[in-house]
């Protein structure tokens, strides 16, 4: 069994980056970017998620099967959200007779 052990230095670097991103997302929320505010906040959240999953949860060194399972889960979440939102977003595009 080949266990890959990351150094404390790597973890510390990831940790400091996570704190910096938290500060950044809080500060950016002060600036009015219009609809971009949501996009930036979510982008930073996704980067933080990737850092936690890849480093703290050791996904970088996990077997391919584990990676496939995680990606499968995220794909299913995407199906849930994209299909539902596709309905809500496009509902008013065409007039419905009788309404």
């Amino acid at each position: 069994m080949h266990e890959h052990i990351d150094s404390v230095k790597t973890y510390a670097f990831v940790f400091v980056t996570l704190l910096a991103l938290t500060l950044l997302t809080t500060l950016v929320a002060e600036v009015d970017l219009g609809p971009l505010n949501v996009a930036v906040a979510l982008l930073i959240a996704v980067i933080k998620m990737l850092l936690v999953a890849l480093f703290f949860m050791h996904l970088r060194h996990s077997p391919m099967l584990t990676k496939v399972v995680v990606c499968g889960g995220l794909l299913w979440l995407l199906i849930l959200m994209v299909l539902t939102m596709a309905d809500f977003v496009s509902r008013k595009w065409l007039p419905v007779p009788g309404v």
Binding site: E3, Y11, L19, A29, A45, G72, F88
Partner: protein
């Protein structure tokens, strides 16, 4: 030594200790994927109602204290850092360090829950809890504002419940680590407990911007 040989023991369905560990870790990830879908439903409900009533969500979100939210995010990230150090301590076989970092993780988790309790209490005093006495300032859409706060309480409440369960898991790990059950050859429970703790952290990483930051400029 008896307890150690028992915990390292290879179950008969596995060929090697590595295979056994991989199976345990994969099992935890499969559970976490079901948790993603569990929380996913709430995130979807949030997205739908935010899309339908953007102005009210803007006002309601602005009533949350984002400094407290940011500080609590930092506290939770610190606890994830100490958790990963506990796993690291187990990998290099330092019983003392595992115990210390598990205690630190539990304390930071406790601080997070304490701040959360303070925030919830504030909501009760400000009448921001959905119900007959609900009242949110700067909006006439009281019903729709209650939707935001229903989601707020459901999402942060479910997250807090996961934190409380996590504290229980950490306590279990702490007893076993103190008894010296974890060695570099066998520390799967610490590893898996860490996966759970980091997952709960990731949920908060998304809750924080969605509840606290969206709509505040």
């Amino acid at each position: 030594m008896d307890s150690q040989t028992e915990t390292v023991a290879l179950r008969e369905q596995f060929e090697t200790a590595g295979q056994q560990k991989e199976a345990s870790t994969l099992g935890m990830w499969v559970f976490l994927v079901t948790e993603i879908m569990f929380f996913g439903g709430l995130f979807l409900a949030y997205m739908v109602y935010r899309r339908l009533f953007p102005e009210v969500f803007w006002v309601a979100s602005s009533s949350l204290n984002k400094i407290i939210g940011a500080v609590n995010t930092a506290v939770l990230l610190c606890s994830s850092f100490t958790m990963v150090l506990a796993v690291h301590a187990a990998q290099i076989g330092s019983r003392r360090a595992i115990v210390i970092f598990l205690i630190l993780t539990m304390l930071l988790g406790g601080v997070f829950l304490g701040v959360k309790a303070y925030e919830w209490n504030e909501k009760f005093q400000e009448h921001h809890v959905p119900g007959p006495s609900f009242h949110l300032e700067h909006t006439t859409e009281q019903g729709r504002a209650q939707l935001f706060f229903s989601l707020y309480f459901a999402m942060t409440g479910l997250h807090a419940l996961h934190m409380i369960i996590g504290e229980g898991l950490l306590l279990f790990l702490l007893f076993h680590a103190y008894a010296g059950k974890y060695t570099p050859a066998y520390y799967t429970p610490v590893d898996i407990g860490g996966l759970y703790w980091h997952f709960v952290d990731i949920i908060w990483i998304f809750l924080f911007p969605l509840l606290y930051l969206i709509g505040q400029h």
